[in-house]
Structures are given as C-alpha cells and as structure tokens.
Point group: C2
C-alpha cells in the first residue's frame, strides 16, 4: 500500500513550504536558484509524481475544444467522427472537457472558412477539424498558429508547422492493402476498375494516394499484376447514370473482375447495379456504414477496409485530454489500423464504432 509521495513530503524533505515546491513544479519563478535545485533533487530522490486527480480538481477550469465538422446527416461517413468525439467527451467530461461544435457545408469551401473563423474567434483551448479544403485549411492553420491554439487534424493530413497531431488512415497503405486483397480475390487474371465517387470540389489527395498505393502493389508483384481501369464520377447520386456507366464499362472491358471504390460510397454503386448480370464482381470499398454492411452481409460487397472514422474522432478528443490533463506529448502522426472487414468479423468492429 506504500503511500504515494506528495508535494508535502517533498517540501518537508527539502526544508521548504509546499508553496515553494508548487512554484518550482509550475515554473512560476519567485524561487532562488539554489532552493530550486535542491527541490528538484529531492523530487528525483523521492520519485515524486504529482497526483493528477488532485491537480485536476484544484485546477478547476474547463477545457474548451473547438470542433469543426461537416453538418450532421449530410453524409453518412462524416457522421462517424463527430459521434465519436461526442462519445469521447462523455467519457472525459469529468476532467472538464467541453466541445464547442461548429458545422459547415461539406461542399462549400467558403462556408468552411467562415465557420472556422467564427470558432477561432471564440478562443477555444484547442481545435479539431478535417482539412477537407486544402487552401482554406492552410489559412485556418495560420490563424490558429497566430492565436496559439493547438490543432489536431483528422481524416487527411496537411503539411503545416502548427499541426500538433494528425489522426487518421494512411491512404497510400490502404491502397497497397486493397491490392493484396484483390490479388487474393481474383483467381487468375482480370482487370480492376478503380472508381472515385466524389466531387471535384473536395480535396482529392487521399484518393490519389490510394491509387498510388494500389498501383505500387501491382508494380511490386509483376507476376500477378492486374490492369487498372479508372473512372471519376461526380454524379454518384444518380443511380441511372451509374448503371449505364457500368454497363458501358463492362462491355468495353469484359475482363473486369473486381471493383475498387476508393471511398465510403461503395453502397451507391451496388445499389445502382445490383440487378445486373455482372453484379457478382468482386467489390471492395471503405468504411462500416450501415448500407455498406448491409451489402457485405448480402455478399454484394466482398471486403471493406475500415478506416476507423468514428475512432478518429474519439481518439482526437482523448488525445487532447491526455495533452492538457496528463501533459502527454502527442506524436505528429497517428495512423489508425486498416481493418480488413468481411462478413465474418464485421460485428466486432461495428460494436467498437458504436459503443465505447
């Protein structure tokens, strides 16, 4: 039960008062050099570790975390990180962590910038956001640097000296992994259709990275390299269009055996073509959206790579708590696992995204 060392013990041992020890701990000055050294030495000897529980209680301030995310329910993927953050907030609210949420239109860079400016004006203790729009995000990061607001990025990384930490997937490696899975799924040869269901306006860097990764995998494995057909589709909300596109592609490239949907919208493609004769293509997509899981269990989707969208948000808030309360250093980059999800192991991951 060896009692823990307190600052009182340190004070006695060093022959000073607790106030002086406290000043040394917080570098608040008003201590002579020799007394300071003596105290530091005693802390070493006694292996003093401050009681963070008592510290948090006495500190008695709340930590306001600014959160800038796409509007809830505008896109099923983007709900997950926000919900993850709220779960995390519930878990650490005892430490006084509060979220200041601000949402923006997923397809409007202007709105993004406006809302970001608004939230910075509130002077939060930290800021979390996904840098969906590259140019605007750099501007915002400059503002944060100026206002000295530590910033965590999720989903997409951006090079900027002020970024405290990036939490998210390794897009390139997820492409490599997809290559491996397609490699297993396609017996013999065939072609792969790579399809980007996204609008031009959004930052597409992570999509390009995935493509590079996929190509890299096949380049490294010449023996079983597969030709890649690529299409970018902005009209992903138009099933008729998707259907015709696919019919045309299958006719043009009859050896297409697998489809790689580079983001979370695989279900949109499946919905559009599920009645077609060629619907038994091997299908690989991303993320555990309800619609994707539905088709995974139906056998219409073979693999989902889980980018842990919910956990990204959860982790961002937890990390900031560690940073502020427990004074932990954060690594510049935190790549989350790329989970290979098939029907047989989906339940566990889903539970993790929702619960906890």
């Amino acid at each position: 039960m060896s009692k823990r060392v307190t600052i009182k013990d340190v004070a006695e041992q060093a022959g000073v008062s607790v106030g002086t020890v406290d000043r040394v701990i917080h570098n608040r000055g008003r201590v002579s050099q020799d007394v300071k050294e003596k105290i530091l030495q005693v802390m070493q000897e006694l292996d003093f570790e401050p009681n963070l529980i008592a510290s948090t209680l006495a500190f008695n301030r709340s930590i306001n975390i600014g959160v800038l995310m796409p509007t809830l329910h505008s896109d099923p993927y983007w709900d997950q990180p926000l919900l993850g953050m709220r779960r995390a907030q519930r878990a650490v609210k005892h430490y006084g962590v509060i979220l200041c949420e601000q949402t923006f239109d997923l397809f409007s860079p202007q709105d993004f910038q406006n809302k970001a400016t608004q939230i910075i004006a509130q002077k939060p203790d930290a800021l979390v956001f996904p840098p969906i729009f590259l140019k605007e995000s750099l501007t915002i990061l400059d503002l944060c640097a100026q206002a000295q607001i530590p910033t965590i990025l999720i989903n997409t990384d951006v090079e900027h000296p002020h970024v405290l930490s990036y939490i998210g997937q390794d897009s390139y490696q997820s492409g490599v992994l997809a290559g491996k899975l397609l490699h297993y799924a396609i017996d013999g040869d065939g072609a792969v259709l790579l399809i980007n269901l996204d609008k031009e306006t959004t930052n597409a860097k992570h999509l390009l990275d995935k493509e590079s990764g996929l190509r890299h995998y096949f380049d490294q494995n010449r023996a079983r390299a597969l030709p890649i057909v690529r299409r970018d589709v902005e009209e992903f909300d138009n099933p008729g269009y998707l259907k015709k596109l696919m019919q045309g592609l299958i006719q043009q490239y009859p050896n297409i055996k697998a489809v790689f949907v580079s983001n979370s919208r695989a279900y949109k493609l499946v919905e559009a073509i599920k009645e077609e004769a060629f619907a038994d293509l091997c299908m690989l997509g991303f993320d555990l959206l309800p619609s994707n899981l539905h088709f995974l269990h139906e056998g219409k989707i073979d693999f989902l790579i889980n980018q842990n969208a919910g956990y990204q948000g959860y982790s961002a808030i937890k990390n900031l708590t560690d940073y502020f309360i427990f004074k932990k250093q954060l690594p510049r980059v935190q790549h989350l696992p790329l989970d290979i999800v098939v029907a047989e192991n989906a339940a566990y991951y889903l539970q993790r995204e929702l619960g906890n």
Copy 2:
C-alpha cells in the same frame, strides 16, 4: 461555461445539508423516506452528476487487482496480456489502481491452484486470470464467490455464476473467419490441414471451438467446401519431428494446399519446414508474436488472425477501473475484434499491442 451542479447545490435546493445528500447518494441510511425522495427529485431536476474526480480524491483508497498469469517468458503468447495489464496500470495509476501479480507454471494445474489460493488469501479487490485449467478454475471461482471478489476472465470463457466479465476472442467465430480466408486463398480445390500444436494437459476447449467454426464455414458453403485433415501434435518443440510429420502428410495427402495452425505457434511449424519444397503452402496462424510477424513479412505465413492478447489484458484492467471508479456496469461477455493481419497492415496492430 455553465457551472456544474454539485451536491451543495442539491442540498440547498432541497433544504438539507450536504451530509444528508451524501447519505442518499451512497444509500447509507439515516434519512427519512420523504426527505430522501425530495433529494432524489431535486437531483433529477438539476441533472446532478457526481464529480468523479473529487470523489476519487476524497475516497483516498487504493484498488488492489490480483493478477494470476503464466510465468513471464515461459511462452511468447502469454507475455502479451500481462504486459498489456502493466501498461493499463500505468495509465490508471492516478486512481490508485495497483496490481498484485502472481505467476504460475503454464503446464501445472497444481501450481495454478496453489498460486490462486495464495492470491485470494491476500484479499484483493478483484481478480483477473485466464482459466487455462477448467476444473481448477471452477474451484477458484467458487472461492472468489465466497470471498466476494469480483472476477474477470481473459482468453477463455467459463460458465460460472460468479464471473463478472469475460474479455477475449470468440474462438468459434475465429474458425469461421479462417474458413473464409482459406476459401479466398485456395484457388479451385484442395485440402486443408488443421494442426493443433498444444499439450493435452491444457484446456483445449477453444481449439475445439475453432475447429467447429472452420467446419461450419465449409458446411455452409458446400460449393467450395474443402476436406480437412486434422493432427494434434504435443511435440511442437521438436523441429525434426514436425518436419517428418509434414513430409509424411504431404505424401499421404498431396492435395493439401493450406495449413491452419489453431494457436499462436505457427512459427514453430514454419521453422521446421521452411527448407522443404512444399513450404509454399498457404499458412494461417494466430497472434502477432515477433516470430509470426517475421514469417508473415517473409511470405511464409499468409494470414494471422490477431486475437488481441495484449489488449485483453489492457482491457481487463481498464474495465475494472471503470467498474470501481466510474461505477460502470460491465457486460458479461466482451468479444474483441478478430483482426485479419497480412504483411500490408501488420504495423498498425503491432503498434497498438506495444504502445497505447
């Protein structure tokens, strides 16, 4: 910044003192029925939530968690949960969580029982152990029930009314999942070798469950069902024996195309046969041991199913902290994800097992 509601607020609002409110919160009696109801009502109205930080500080007691595990370094698999527990302890030590470790000989039921009795005699606040030996474990669980020591099981579940929670893999489902992976890996037909590298003395229930799962998968998918050849090998530490065994099996069943090693010892088999001509078999094993990872990256092992051994331990300690400090209910069964690990996504999982 809406100030949080404290018990003082509740007391004032209800027209009583904080001591009375405190008695109601902890059900310590000495409060008349109507006053109690009044206070409960006020707590509802004000949405009072106790400040767990202050509560923990005032409580000022340590929580001793008894940990009963196989001796460190006797088996690489069994190191992981123990190390995970130590990591968790470091993360929650502020709450006064202390581990009382006791280790036993992995192959001696008698030693297990002795050490368990010893640790219970120390009256810990909770106990965590893997019920490796079924009969002895039931006895221990009876003792725990009698001494009112909440108990968490890891790695293997056991039916017993006193078990607070089981944290570990779903063995059956991991067999099913293995079936799916072998299904993908084997083009056309072939046979699967199922090999148990374990001693009879250890509880083999989870191995049987894995086999059932595997067979179930093939039964459900008649179209691509594969015949299964099964062997139990106790001499897994004898490479020469393993080599001869495999040579004989390949000769007898030339259509064996894949090997399913039902536990973490796949590396022992690979080491024994890596020079052989038939070493390009599809190999599936369990767990991220350094040796397994080595062969995964070398291409000698195709898939590892990660049972999250380290996280099991980590999670057990975290759960008990939640249980004691945050008064959370624990689910009776907590199945951890069955991660499909290939060379391309191994790094992330390894990081999680070590760091965090």
